[in-house]
């Protein structure tokens, strides 16, 4: 389980490698919040290499989404496999976050929305 931050011209991408669960959600939140503190506003979380998310991970995303929106930014989620999409649909969080099939799709939308 690890997080990789990739800073692009139009958005900041955080890759989640492994699960986003109760054991690492605080680390994940801190990584993103540090970037927000340094000025990041358009943030994409890429789950292409992520197996699953639990309710703690979902809660971390909800909390970060609220914080980023309050800062005038947006949080987009990309690379969700069928299982993860099911999770967001079950919990109705697909209504809270824009979901994209790939990181490229999320970045293209971020560029268009600049």
């Amino acid at each position: 389980m690890s997080f990789l931050v990739v800073k692009g011209a139009d958005a900041l991408v955080v890759e989640v490698d492994g699960q986003l669960v109760v054991t690492n959600r605080q680390e994940f939140k801190q990584v993103v919040l540090d970037e927000v503190e340094q000025g990041a506003r358009s943030i994409v979380v890429d789950f292409a290499r992520s197996a699953y998310i639990d309710s703690s991970g979902l809660g971390a995303l909800v909390s970060l989404g609220k914080r980023i929106r309050e800062s005038g930014g947006d949080l987009r989620l990309a690379g969700l496999n069928e299982d993860l999409r099911t999770l967001f649909e079950l919990t109705r969080l697909d209504a809270l976050f824009p979901l994209y099939a790939t990181r490229a799709d999320a970045l293209a939308d971020a560029t268009a929305g600049r």
């Binding site: 109760v22 699953y52 309710s55 809660g59 299982d83 999770l87 079950l90 919990t91």
Partner: protein, 185 residues
């Protein structure tokens, strides 16, 4: 359940504790009993992953679907274990969580034209806390503040990803048992 001595979760276990905390597996009462595994872990969320790997291995060997093994079981079990550690035991490392997992086998009703064997995963997660009511421990998607809540989705996810979720309190003793049931499809 006997209370374990206060300790850091990273401290090595002595021989007596090792005998009670290492995972156990095999067959109860002979070769015809269903496969099972048991763990007693400290109230430390970093212990969750090892239990999940063991239960998934048990289910994979019993022919559960790939989706059940990679998604339903890990997510639901993470919720049950973190609930027991954080809510049940209050993150008190002196308190333990006991996990019993078993594949129950039953013959299908051949008069109904089917054949083969039903397989059902049953996992019981027992904490040493003061107990909580599963029915009121979480929120529901129709709650007004559902989308903006950071917590409260764990029980809902367990119920959505398992065929049955039950909660019982120990008679006359502290502790709460959450029972997860999932049928092989």
């Amino acid at each position: 359940m006997q209370r374990a001595p206060t300790r850091s979760p990273t401290q090595p276990l002595d021989a007596e504790e090792m005998a009670t905390r290492i995972p156990r597996s095999g067959h109860r009462g002979g070769g015809s009993s269903p496969p099972h595994r048991e763990w007693i872990i400290a109230s430390d969320v970093t212990a969750i992953n090892g239990v999940i790997e063991g239960v998934v291995a048990l289910c994979s060997g019993a022919g559960f679907s790939a989706r059940h093994c990679r998604f339903n079981i890990p997510v639901a079990l993470t919720e049950a274990l973190s609930n027991a550690i954080i809510r049940g035991n209050g993150n008190d490392v002196a308190r333990c969580v006991r996990v019993r997992s078993q594949i129950e086998l039953a013959a299908r009703d051949r008069t109904a034209g089917s054949s083969g064997i039903f397989a059902t995963l049953v996992v019981e997660v027992t904490d040493e806390g003061d107990g909580f009511d599963l029915a009121t421990a979480g929120s529901r998607p129709d709650a007004a503040d559902w989308l903006e809540r950071e917590d409260g989705r764990g029980v809902f996810l367990m119920q959505a990803l398992m065929d049955r979720v039950e909660c019982t309190r120990g008679a006359g003793a502290p502790g709460n048992t959450v029972r997860l049931v999932l049928h092989r499809t």
